[in-house]
């Protein structure tokens, strides 16, 4: 029995901080750490995952983690959550110096040297697979009563650690390399699902893994390097037992993803898994990544029958010479031979396999391409994009720009191809690429690309944040901020640690395109340098058009998608009302603000007139889709930011507001509590002034403290004597249809 079982502590808490590119701000399950937890648990170590579903701020997050009294805090670290992981880890060290802090995952597997040298609060980094090495680490640590400095870690593989200020390490990790694929060594690690570490209902998010490692030669990728080009697999029986257990818990359209680097690397094994699923009549919808040279028609037929609905082919380029240079089909050569037969065949196969997959009914065929590859010209890169765009069998593609990561084969000689790499704040985890040709601006990005989907999703969520129509979530801290300023200061970033939830959304609205282009990188550097709780940043700028403004994003510029209907339009209420019945008017991406008294009166009368219709529901559903409104909340019962306190608006004078029309509730730098008190005081004063307690609408009214530009008494009268409130609630409710389908 470990000491924690006697002292009600936890041996190890695993923490997977949200990644900056992800819209999700929760602390979720992670398949990799669940494997380790599962293994540790069966060996008597009390390990568990820190889960927090709703957005959470730094203070609450630290309190919750330390409330579990962990002896060890283990972080799952990627490049995209490194900054937040370091922030949380640093705070844990300050509050609980006796808790050992360990980083593992893809980022420390490559950057362990930098992390150990720059983060004094990190006691150890694990490199590559950690099930067995972590168990050994925990055993050694507990045998010394969790005194890190006294413990002997010298016999452990794949670790670097700090003792008495000095860094030691045994970076080699051969745990999985000494076993052949046919030994199914991976089966010695218990299933995170069968052991109920991850609930089966979460499997559509976390996926399963049937094999680890990659045996390919791509010079831009770390997968094969980290696995030493060896594959370690689960037995077919083990894979099937997991799928069989998970499948009844999959709902509706949920898909179970095979997270293998390439599921069909060994086609015979892939076929065996498919056959077993078919034989056992398991009903499941599946997805995986594959390669066109590791699949054929017969396997596609089997996969379809087994339940695969979505396939992603990694393609990268349709130029044989480029494929040869990057080692996509066979090992890359320093001096290229003339024979590109294999690469040409690869491209032909891609075309054939995608066509066949579509023909037999796969619902979603996706591919990935990369531009900016070694030696690639602009016309070659554009040819790849055009090929994917014109291929009717491809539903979508990932438009990637080559990034040269430390540890990849190309990292050792990238300069000879003309690349330059700049590290933001000298941190090799945050790199900025400079390509020999301008692939970012001069390569066409097709509407089929994931970048267009991302812009669409971001704009939709931004509209929702701008209209302050927040979700019904219990959050510690604000989940988003709207920063109307060209600048980010150290003071602002430090203040965000108090007020913004971890990975909360930062919408920065620049005064124009030029300031955005000039300052956004510098602002990003400040956010990383001063450890912002979020790097989930969306950059926008305003552009005036006739009678309205456009809110264009950095993606609008990248995608050259600056047309009116492709972007968020900001207009007055009168602009909307006067065009509502025009056949070509389009308010899908419109944000409507009341600009003056007349505009407010117009909005109020629109709501009142709609409410007086014989059947307001039918009236509204037969009208064109309505815009998002800035001030509709004032007519509702409780659907307002002053009640839900989800978003803060900050202007370039560092003044903080809770609503577009609201008074200043504080300044950047003021504690969270003070801001809330100031708002509550405004709300209470308004209620007293208006004698809300005596009003018949008291229980149906949000009692907006800032109804401006409508005078207070007119606001109260309209709320009391008309049905504007009911109409406003109905518009809010019907917005669900728009959110759902558009």
């Amino acid at each position: 029995m470990l000491i924690s079982q006697l002292q009600k502590t936890t041996d190890c808490i695993f923490i997977f901080p949200p990644c900056s590119e992800s819209p999700d701000s929760s602390f979720n399950y992670h398949l990799g750490s669940a494997y380790i937890i599962s293994y540790l648990n069966t060996q008597g170590v009390d390990a568990r995952q820190y889960i927090h579903r709703d957005p959470v701020n730094l203070k609450t997050c630290i309190a919750e983690i330390l409330g579990l009294k962990p002896r060890v805090a283990g972080f799952t670290v990627y490049d995209s959550n490194y900054s937040v992981a370091a922030l949380i880890a640093g705070e844990i060290r300050k509050s609980s110096p006796q808790t050992s802090i360990v980083f593992g995952g893809p980022c420390p597997s490559v950057h362990y040297g930098f992390i150990m040298n720059s983060c004094a609060f990190v006691d150890a980094c694990f490199i590559n697979e950690a099930e067995e090495n972590f168990l050994e680490f925990m055993k050694q640590l507990s045998s010394e009563d969790f005194n890190f400095d006294k413990t002997d870690f010298s016999g452990i593989q794949g670790i670097t650690y700090r003792q008495s200020g000095k860094i030691f390490g045994n970076h080699e990790n051969r745990t999985l390399r000494n076993h052949s694929i046919s030994s199914y060594y991976l089966d010695s690690y218990p299933s995170p699902y069968l052991g109920e570490i991850i609930p089966a209902t979460e499997a559509h998010n976390t996926g399963i893994i049937t094999a680890r490692g990659c045996n390919q030669n791509c010079i831009y990728c770390n997968c094969a390097v980290l696995s030493n080009r060896r594959i370690s697999a689960h037995s077919v029986d083990r894979v099937i037992s997991e799928i069989e257990y998970i499948s009844p818990h999959q709902k509706g359209n949920q898909i179970l993803t095979f997270q293998d680097d390439t599921f069909t690397l060994i086609t015979k094994r892939a076929a065996e898994i498919c056959n077993a699923i078919i034989r056992q009549h398991i009903k499941v919808r599946l997805a995986c990544i594959t390669r066109c040279d590791c699949i054929d028609e017969a396997l596609l037929d089997l996969m379809k029958e087994a339940g695969f609905v979505s396939l992603t082919f990694s393609l990268e380029s349709v130029n044989p010479i480029t494929l040869r240079r990057i080692g996509k089909v066979r090992p890359a050569e320093e001096i290229l031979s003339d024979n590109l037969e294999k690469e040409e065949k690869f491209i032909e196969n891609f075309d054939r396999m995608a066509a066949y997959a579509k023909k037999i009914g796969f619902q979603n065929i996706v591919t990935s391409i990369m531009v900016g590859l070694p030696g690639e010209t602009l016309s070659e890169a554009n040819r790849t994009v055009e090929f994917v765009e014109n291929n009717k069998n491809i539903d979508q593609y990932a438009h990637n720009f080559l990034k040269i990561f430390r540890g990849t084969p190309i990292y050792s000689n990238y300069e000879k191809y003309g690349y330059k790499i700049r590290y933001i704040n000298g941190n090799p985890i945050f790199l900025k690429m400079n390509y020999p040709v301008d692939v970012i601006r001069k390569v066409y990005i097709s509407p089929k690309s994931h970048l267009h989907s991302k812009k669409k999703e971001n704009d939709k969520s931004t509209l929702s944040i701008l209209s302050l129509s927040v979700k019904d979530i219990k959050s510690a801290g604000f989940t988003s901020i709207i920063l109307q300023s060209d600048h980010v200061s150290e003071k602002l970033v430090n203040w965000l640690k108090d007020v913004l939830s971890i990975n909360g959304i930062i919408i920065q609205i620049y005064s124009g395109e030029k300031p955005m282009k000039r300052l956004s990188d510098r602002n990003y550097e400040k956010l990383t340098r001063y450890s912002s709780p979020s790097l989930n940043i969306r950059n926008y700028f305003l552009k005036e058009i006739k009678d309205a403004s456009l809110l264009l994003s950095s993606e609008s510029v990248l995608l050259k998608s600056c047309e009116e209907d492709d972007n968020i339009k900001i207009c007055s209420f009168e602009y909307f009302r006067s065009r509502l019945d025009e056949p070509e008017a389009n308010f899908l991406k419109t944000f409507c603000r009341e600009t003056d008294y007349n505009d407010s009166v117009s909005a109020c009368s629109f709501l009142r007139d709609t409410g007086m219709e014989k059947d307001p529901l039918t009236f509204l559903t037969r009208k064109k889709i309505l815009p998002n409104f800035a001030s509709l909340c004032k007519w509702t019962r409780e659907n307002a930011n002053c009640v839900n306190r989800s978003t803060l608006i900050i202007n370039d004078r560092s003044e903080v507001r809770f609503c577009w029309q609201g008074n200043v509730s504080g300044l950047v730098g003021q504690p969270y509590r003070e801001l809330i008190s100031s708002l509550e005081s405004e709300m209470n004063n308004a209620k007293t002034r208006r004698k809300c307690d005596m009003c018949k609408e008291e229980s149906n009214c949000v009692k907006c403290p800032f109804p401006f530009p409508l005078p207070e008494m007119e606001y109260c009268t309209a709320k009391r004597i008309s049905n504007v409130g009911q109409t406003a609630e109905l518009i809010y409710a019907l917005d669900q249809v728009k959110q759902f389908f558009c």
Binding site: Q396, A398, D565, K589, R622, Y732, A733, Q736, V737
Partner: protein, 75 residues
């Protein structure tokens, strides 16, 4: 991919009908009307509509990318 220029020119009813079919759209709106008549409003109505939409919709995996981050980061 949906054409947003066209979507914005449609009514909610058009979108409902094209997404779940005319019959289901009518049933859905009838159910919402019934809930409103019974006095449901605000967040309750919002949640109710969402649940009904989930029940009615058989949305295909239109936007599903294995190379998207939410999947990659869970590996």
């Amino acid at each position: 991919m949906k054409d947003f220029k066209k979507l914005g020119e449609l009514s909610l009813l058009d979108i409902l009908e094209s997404s779940v079919g005319r019959e289901e759209a009518e049933r859905l709106l009838g159910t919402i009307q019934e809930a409103i008549t019974k006095g449901m409003s605000g967040d309750d109505l919002k949640k109710f509509i969402y649940q009904e939409l989930c029940r009615s919709s058989v949305t295909d995996i239109e936007v599903y990318m294995l190379f998207s981050l939410p999947v990659i980061i869970h590996r």
